[in-house]
Symmetry: C2
Subunit: 108 residues, 2 copies
């Protein structure tokens, strides 16, 4: 009936960025795209379409999601597009996740 502790609600916004990055990783096709980009070393365009069992439109959409999440960069090179892993963003994400996992080490 009465307020328990005068609303000490958690601030969810502090995790919004990390949650968004995890969402970008939360699809097999997008993880496969990242793996492919890393494996080829150099940037790749629509070879990804040939590799994935998905339509060109769907692949392009997944690439857009990864780009909007800041995990990859895309540059137009003539008639084709060249995508590349954003190393800085990836290292940042890696560090953030590592920090979370460290804080989660103390379980019951």
């Amino acid at each position: 009936m009465y307020d328990k502790k005068m609303s000490e609600k958690a601030d969810l916004t502090q995790f919004e960025a990390l949650a968004g990055a995890c969402k970008a990783l939360s699809h097999p096709a997008r993880l496969t795209i990242l793996q492919t980009l890393a494996r080829r070393g150099t940037c790749i365009c629509g070879e990804i379409v040939d590799i994935l069992p998905l339509s060109q439109a769907t692949v392009s959409q997944h690439l857009k999601i990864l780009k909007e999440a800041g995990l990859i960069t895309g540059e137009i090179d003539g008639p084709r597009s060249c995508y590349c892993i954003d190393g800085d963003a990836m290292r940042l994400l890696r560090g953030q996740l590592e920090q979370v996992f460290r804080s989660l080490e103390h379980c019951c």
Copy 2:
């Protein structure tokens, strides 16, 4: 017109488990729940509802998602439920993510 390389399509199923775990992490409320469980050390029941700015039904739904993803365990203790981080699952996920990030170190 002709098959480029006789269908060397990537197998997306190999990343399904990891993608599913990332999806479980891809919501601020769920990350906050994990942080709360870790912070309290001991298992927690519906105090989470008091902490999060969400309804009891919504919190229960997030807890279910985390449990189905195997990241937490839930035990019924009398009239209340006691949740706890699954340390083994968390370490496994941490290792898998670390492996992915290592393979992504070689960027352009």
